[in-house]
């Protein structure tokens, strides 16, 4: 019996390792559905709505990739993953890509053999506290109990920040955002720390968001982006350039409203023509249809539309563009040219 289990484990490990090197693009096309790893539930970024349909900013990236590859934004199987399981699931081939507010770091890129295909949200770690605690700076948090999602870069930043400021704290490691929210609201921890965008999203889902404040300190750089397995550059290119297409579309003024008109015939702007496939062979180079970017942008709109619809200032989450504005507007979004 024990031997059988051992065999099974070895076989699974063997299969998993051999699957990783297969051509993901062909697999997805053959399957007709994209397996996309998302968060277990973070309003605005990835959460199922009242009808059980996944929506959010990260979900939008999954749908854009599915639309570019399969021509159908609905052909996505969403796999909710915790911070602990996400990389294993991706490495083992359980999902084709991860779009799950994941920070791009050296060791994840190099040592874990993952490939980050760009940045869809420039974030930083913040702290949320109840307003009646009377705290106005993270430096006043000496001795506080801090809820934190385990297996994240936040966990390491937190230790570094408190250590360098010579203040003590007590960590409460937690698996999911929902559990953290429950612990924080019950007062089992004084502070909840995670990426500032996720704090805003979590706060928006509280009954009384006004009773909680996000402290001004941002203690780390958290470039969040979609990622794929190392060693399949063709698939990495598809995800990378789909994201770039969404960003470039905003820069070039292509929206889901005017895209049909712009894609119908070559326009006066050659870059728009190359992006939308009315000129050149960019789609074929990726192994996709000529109208791949048209499909991707039609799926949920360009970057700005996705942002405004899910997490922008008119939503309950209310995030400003800030660093996530186009480079032309003083932000960091900068898509390489389509040529």
């Amino acid at each position: 019996m024990k031997k059988t289990a051992f065999y099974g484990a070895l076989t699974v490990a063997g299969f998993a390792a051999s699957m990783a090197s297969a051509a993901t693009l062909d697999d997805v096309k053959e399957r007709g559905v994209l397996n996309c790893g998302v968060s277990t539930g973070l309003v605005g970024f990835a959460s199922p709505n009242a009808n059980g349909v996944w929506e959010g900013f990260d979900v939008g990236v999954c749908r854009a990739v599915a639309a570019a590859v399969l021509g159908d934004a609905e052909a996505v199987e969403f796999v909710p993953l915790t911070t602990k399981t996400r990389f294993t699931a991706l490495s083992a081939g359980e999902v084709d890509m991860l779009s799950r507010n994941t920070t791009w770091t050296f060791s994840r890129d190099v040592d874990l053999k993952l490939e980050f295909t760009g940045i869809n949200y420039y974030d930083g770690q913040g702290f949320m506290v109840p307003r009646d605690l009377g705290v106005s700076s993270a430096k006043e948090l000496d001795g506080a109990t801090v809820c934190i999602q385990t297996g994240t870069t936040t966990e390491l930043n937190l230790a570094d920040y408190f250590r360098s400021n010579n203040i003590s704290y007590e960590p409460v490691p937690i698996e999911t955002n929902a559990e953290a929210q429950q612990q924080y609201l019950a007062g089992a921890c004084d502070v909840y720390t995670t990426d500032a965008s996720a704090l805003a999203a979590t706060r928006a889902s509280f009954e009384a968001p006004g009773d909680h404040i996000v402290l001004p300190e941002i203690v780390s750089k958290e470039p969040l982006g979609p990622l794929v397995r190392h060693g399949d550059s063709d698939w990495g290119d598809v995800v990378r350039w789909t994201l770039n297409a969404l960003i470039a579309a905003e820069e070039l003024g292509v929206t889901s409203a005017n895209i049909e008109e712009l894609a119908a015939a070559p326009t006066g702007n050659p870059e728009v023509n190359r992006l939308l496939g009315t000129e050149g062979e960019l789609g074929a180079m990726l192994g996709l249809d000529a109208n791949w970017a048209v499909m991707a942008i039609s799926a949920g709109g360009n970057y700005a539309e996705l942002f405004e619809k899910n997490i922008g200032e008119n939503t309950p989450i209310g995030l400003a563009r800030g660093l996530n504005a186009q480079w032309t507007d003083g932000g960091l979004l900068y898509s390489p040219p389509f040529r």
């Binding site: 070895l10 602990k84 937190l158 230790a159």
Partner: protein, 404 residues
């Protein structure tokens, strides 16, 4: 003469490996072993090759690197600059602590419930029946989460203790029950406290010596010496006397509300309490059944015979029934202790930093060394389980039926 009954000493032929019943089973076992070894070699080789192809290698160098994360309950020196190996050690000690506490508590719950379930009092025996059936038929993970959730939701936050008219107050000004854990006074060892501790240890030795002497007197002269009150007296009186003679060297550090949390005193974290209580009460239900089975396995004639000799019911239980029942109780008790140790790995559900949470959780995550960490974890749990089972088997041998 004997040569007639000897089997024919024919030369060995290869076909005898299949045709001769003396060798046939050996042949097939050898073939099976060979196939098994080959398949393991093939799968292992496949694994190594695939890992190499994916650019991954097996290496334990990460254990020497700084862990970079903090742990909320550490029995040994640990900071975020300590190594992953040190973090694993912290986790191992936390696992051993919870396993030990839960084994003791589960045994107490189990023995009490098992004995009470056989009580002649209808209400008591039915209540114990309900306890056993409810607790052992709901998964332990659910119990852990239920108890933890109740603790965090029902108990007051430290913040509630603040202000002139606080919503919650400390018990006797020394114990604080909060949703982050229970704070109790901690002893402060002043100069001279060593003498007090030594006196205490000596009085414990004294209790055992006195009890042995009482048994000896009973066997030699038939005179029954009182043991209960002298034991209690020996336990408390010398230590307290010595404490005052040495000028009260041991004082208590009371927890006080300061900043965000209580400081000072000893903190029993909410995760520890929830996990401890859940594991004990869940496993206690199984142990109760073992105890009941053990007691019922002792034939009624034994206690009737003891009664006929004039023994009182308490002595019948401790001198006649329990020693025989232990033979039945201990083997399944070993597996319950193993279950507790293994179930303690569910600690991650409530954020208790056991070895599965540190080495198998955060370290695994931050370094991505899944295979290495899991292998280490398997090795640790195997070692600890085999040790427990070995120790309990020694005890089992000491109480089992001595055949002469």
């Amino acid at each position: 003469m004997s040569s007639i009954t000897d089997p024919p000493q024919g030369s060995f032929r290869l076909s005898m490996l299949i045709n001769d019943t003396r060798y046939r089973s050996l042949t097939f076992q050898a073939i099976a072993a060979l196939i098994l070894a080959l398949s393991i070699w093939y799968l292992g080789n496949n694994l190594i090759q695939n890992l190499r192809q994916a650019g991954l290698n097996i290496s334990y160098n990460f254990l020497g690197n700084p862990a970079g994360y903090d742990i909320n309950q550490t029995l040994v020196e640990y900071t975020s600059r300590s190594t992953h190996a040190q973090a694993a050690l912290v986790g191992i000690l936390n696992t051993l602590l919870i396993a030990f506490l839960a084994c003791v508590m589960a045994t107490i719950f189990g023995v009490a419930a098992g004995v009470l379930r056989l009580s002649n009092n209808w209400l008591v025996s039915k209540l114990m029946g309900v306890y056993v059936e409810i607790f052992r038929n709901i998964p332990v993970l659910i119990w852990i989460i239920i108890i933890f959730t109740i603790m965090t939701a029902v108990m007051p936050a430290p913040r509630a203790f603040r202000g002139d008219e606080p919503e919650a107050t400390m018990l006797l000004n020394a114990f604080a029950f909060t949703n982050r854990g229970i704070y109790v006074p901690a002893p402060i060892w002043g100069p001279g406290s060593l003498v007090v501790v030594l006196t205490f240890l000596a009085s414990i030795v004294g209790i055992f010596a006195y009890r042995r002497y009482a048994t000896k007197t009973l066997y030699a002269t038939g005179r029954l010496l009182p043991t209960f009150w002298p034991s209690i007296g020996l336990f408390f009186v010398p230590t307290i006397l010595m404490h005052f003679i040495m000028g009260q060297p041991i004082s208590l550090d009371h927890p006080v509300l300061g900043g965000f949390n209580f400081s000072g005193g000893l903190q029993l974290g909410a995760p520890l309490i929830a996990l401890w209580f859940a594991l004990s009460i869940y496993t206690g239900a199984f142990i109760a059944e073992n105890v009941r089975a053990g007691i019922q396995a002792v034939s009624k004639g034994q206690s009737e015979a003891a009664g006929a000799l004039g023994l009182r019911s308490g002595r019948i239980m401790s001198l006649v029934v329990l020693p025989q029942a232990l033979r039945v109780i201990i083997p399944p008790l070993i597996s319950q202790y193993l279950n507790i140790t293994k179930n303690s790995s569910l600690a991650i559900a409530v954020g208790y930093a056991d070895v599965t949470a540190t080495l198998g959780g955060i370290t695994l995550n931050q370094t991505g060394r899944a295979i290495e960490c899991v292998l280490l974890l398997m090795l640790f749990y195997l070692t600890i389980s085999l040790t427990i089972s070995g120790v309990m088997n020694v005890y089992n041998n000491s109480v089992k039926l001595k055949e002469r």
